[in-house]
Every structure is written in structure tokens, then in C-alpha cells.
């Protein structure tokens, strides 16, 4: 029997998810033994035309990481959808919009201005900003065009499964590949990770006081972090209460609070808003002034509570009057 064909593709991402695949180390040999990798721009020199030449539905499963923030990426994932039986959103960016999704809290014009014109490390005397189409002596040149907002993969194409994480932990990759190869899959649309929150399995949960109250918030660099105590009990924002578990608490074991990369648990639609509900309940304040004083110690609430999920939040992006 022919081996099932699989493909990997990257969109707007840092490359960490590609690294996660490579980090399988010897285990990748088991994967390679069982499947035939037909497309993987990071490792194999194949082009878009090679994918276009493939038969529709001929790829068993395609793993796509990264957010979709240009017209080129949008076209590419549509092609891959057509060629694949299963599409798996791989990692936080394709699952929730991820870090590139934070761009949705500003607008395209400001991003281009900041990156190409006003950035302090930038020298751009001719004030050049890349254009989607520009004339040249040899004819018109085309570049991918940045979209107004970064999107999660399922906001562009139909997605069968999600593997969360920034980056995806090794165990989840191997579990997912095994599940796919053996046909032992949950219902379509499932996130291939546990359904309980991070707090549920966190070692530090034991140190959480009976009634957790917070009088002031600190950013991790502002205090000496205790290596065993619950972060919230130390006044440090930890997204554990609203974030899906299954990451093996990598950050927490490294003495850093959870930043929420696994996204919300099932039945939560807006991770950031849910976190507001959870976090605000813990304020040790009963008057307007007391509450305001605590709120004042929280920097950048949207960027913190929706660090990985702006694109998949209920609003999806900053709204403007225009």
C-alpha cells in the first residue's frame, strides 16, 4: 500500500512551529517511515506550481502553521485545501491568529508607517513603502499585499482539526500524527489537546490560598518570582484559569506565568473577556477608587489577555469609524 502523503506549510509565523517538527529528533524518522512528505517549503525545494500540479484530494493531511495576513497566503491555503483531505491548523497562529494577530489592535497604515518610515532603527531616505504593484522597465512587478487584519486559518478555509501551542509540544504532534494514521480521530473541529484548563494540572495550584485576593499587579520583571507559589497569588497575571492545558506547563516550570498560547477551553468563545471575568473577581477592592487603583497597575489589558487570540476574539480586530 502506498504511504499516505502529508504536507507542511507556513504562513505568517516565526518558524517556531517548523522548529517543533524538527525537534521531534529521532521520532521524526518514525513519521517519515509511515508517510510520504510531498510538500514542506522549509525543508524541501518544492514550489507552488508543484502543489498546483497535484491531484485534488491527493494529500492525506496538510499541517498549516502561521496566521493569514497577505493575499499570497490566502491563495496558497485555498490551493492546499483543495489538494488535501484533512487540514490541521498547527500552532497558535493558525489556531487563533497568534502573535501576528496582535496587529489587529492597530491598522495596516500605522504598521507600514512604523516598520518602514518611523522605526528608530530604520534608514529609509527615499521613504519607500512596498507596493503590491509597481512599474519596472521589465513590466509590472507584483508583491504579496498585507491584509488589513491577520486571520486565523479557519477564518479563511475550512479546518478539520487544531493542534494548539506556541510552539506545539512534541507530544501533541506525535499523538496527532498517530491518531491520523490510525484513523482514531475525534469529531471534526476538535482541538487535539486536553479539555481542562492549565490550572487543573498545575503543580502550583496546591499553593493557591483558599480565597485568592490581589491588591496590585506586577509584571514578571518587577518582582522576584517565587518558584513554587501560584503566580496569581504573587500578583502576576497568569492566563492559567482560562487556558487549555496539555502544554505540560512548560512556561510555569520555567518560572514564567502562562501567557495563554493554547487558547480557550471548549465552550469559551472569547479567551480575553473570560479572563477579565476571572481576574477582576480576585481584586481586593470594594469602592470605585480602590478598583481603579488596581486596574491602573495592569498594563495593556487587550495585548495581555488576548496575546494569542485577538483574531479569534468576538470583535476580531480594532474597529474604526471609517
Amino acid at each position: 500500500m502506498a504511504k499516505p502523503k502529508i504536507a507542511f506549510y507556513w504562513c505568517a509565523s516565526c518558524g517556531g512551529c517548523e522548529e517543533a517538527v524538527v525537534d521531534l529528533a529521532e521520532d521524526i524518522l518514525k513519521v517519515v517511515e509511515a508517510v510520504d512528505i510531498v510538500f514542506w517549503p522549509c525543508a524541501l525545494d518544492l514550489k507552488r506550481t508543484d502543489v498546483e500540479a497535484m491531484e485534488d484530494g491527493s494529500i492525506a493531511v496538510t499541517f498549516i502553521n502561521g496566521a493569514i495576513n497577505s493575499d499570497e497566503l490566502e491563495e496558497m491555503v485555498h490551493i492546499l485545501r483543495k489538494k488535501s483531505q484533512l487540514i490541521v491548523a498547527f500552532g497558535s497562529c493558525s489556531h487563533l491568529g497568534g502573535i501576528p494577530g496582535l496587529a489587529n489592535l492597530t491598522d495596516k497604515a500605522s504598521i507600514l508607517k512604523s516598520v518602514y518610515l518611523t522605526g528608530p532603527t530604520n534608514v529609509n531616505q527615499s521613504k519607500t513603502i512596498p507596493l503590491a504593484k509597481s512599474p519596472s522597465p521589465d513590466g509590472e512587478l507584483h508583491l504579496p499585499e498585507l491584509k488589513e487584519n491577520a486571520l486565523a486559518l479557519d477564518q479563511v478555509i475550512d479546518v478539520d482539526y487544531y493542534i494548539p501551542g506556541c510552539s506545539v509540544p512534541k507530544k501533541l504532534i506525535l499523538d496527532a500524527v498517530t491518531a491520523i494514521l490510525t484513523g482514531n480521530l475525534p469529531p471534526k473541529g476538535s482541538v487535539l489537546a486536553p479539555t481542562r484548563t492549565n490550572c487543573d494540572t498545575c503543580e502550583r495550584n496546591k499553593t493557591k490560598p483558599e480565597k485568592l485576593t490581589i491588591t496590585k499587579f506586577y509584571r514578571p520583571y518587577e518582582i522576584e518570582l517565587d518558584e513554587e507559589k501560584c503566580f496569581l497569588a504573587q500578583g502576576v497575571i497568569c492566563m492559567g484559569p482560562v487556558t487549555r492545558g496539555g502544554c505540560d506547563e512548560r512556561c510555569i516550570k520555567g518560572n514564567m506565568p502562562c501567557r495563554g498560547c493554547f487558547g480557550p477551553v471548549d465552550n469559551v468563545y472569547d479567551q480575553g473577556a473570560k479572563f477579565i471575568s476571572a481576574l477582576a473577581s480576585l481584586f481586593d477592592a470594594k469602592t470605585d477608587e480602590e478598583v481603579q487603583a488596581i486596574v491602573d497597575t495592569i498594563q495593556d489589558p487587550a495585548g495581555t489577555f488576548y496575546r494569542f487570540s485577538v483574531a479569534k476574539s468576538m470583535l476580531g480586530h480594532k474597529v474604526s469609524k471609517e
Binding site: 486571520l151 469559551v268 477582576a280 473577581s281 477592592a285 487587550a302 476580531g316
Partner: protein, 146 residues
Amino acid sequence: MSSDKSVFEPRIVAFLCNWCSYTGADLAGTARMKYPANVRTIRVMCSGRVDAQFVMKAFAEGADAVLISGCHTPSDCHYQEGNFKALRRYYLLKKMLPQFGIEPERLRLEWISAAEGDKFQEVCTEYTEQIKKLGPSPVKKGVKNG
């Protein structure tokens, strides 16, 4: 409401707690006090039951403003401290909403007791006027992404 389509009629979603504010609204109704039909009430058991997700969903679906109303602090809450939870979420939401491009004035918190039908009438009338002046929500209904 006015039949003239050019007049902006805001949609204000009001989450009212069962024990105080909803009963206050009910009193306003039975006493035949008039207040603008722009306010659409949703009864919840407690203002502390108002998840920030409810507020974000109301805005995402095109509400021009959201009013949360519960029992007076410090001691009127039927569940003892639900109203404090609402108070804390309110200030945190107010800080975050502008990051999503929504004016903080579009969210309001009030304490209205079961006996304060007149206050309910006053708040609804005054808030509707305020939002009319502020104009429609910047969220384009149904246009979520793109």
C-alpha cells in the same frame, strides 16, 4: 420610535439583576413611567453573573451601548458580593474597550434598587440621549473580519 430613518436610534443592551434592578425596571413599567424603547433589557440573576463575554458579544453584534445594573453596594446584593464582581469587571473592561476602538462611554454601570423605578427611568432616558449624541457604534454589524 421615530419612523424617520435618518434619526439615529441607538440600541442599548441592559443586563439587569433579578433582585434589584430588574424589579426596579418592573416598577417603572407598572407605574407607567415612560422611558425610551432603545433600551433592551436582559434579566440575569445577579450583576456578578454578567461575564465580560456577554458585553463583548453585545458589542460584536452591533449594540451601541451596554448598561449593567445591579443592587447598591456595599450591602444590597442578594448574593453578598456579586455586585462587587460587576464593579471590578466594569473598570477593567472600560480600560480595555478603547484598545478595540470602542469608546468607554458605551459601557455603563448603575446601582438601581427594586424601589427605584424613577431612577431606572432617569438612567435610561439620560443614557439614550448621551449615546444618541455619541453616535452609532464603530462596530459594523456582521462584518467581523477582513
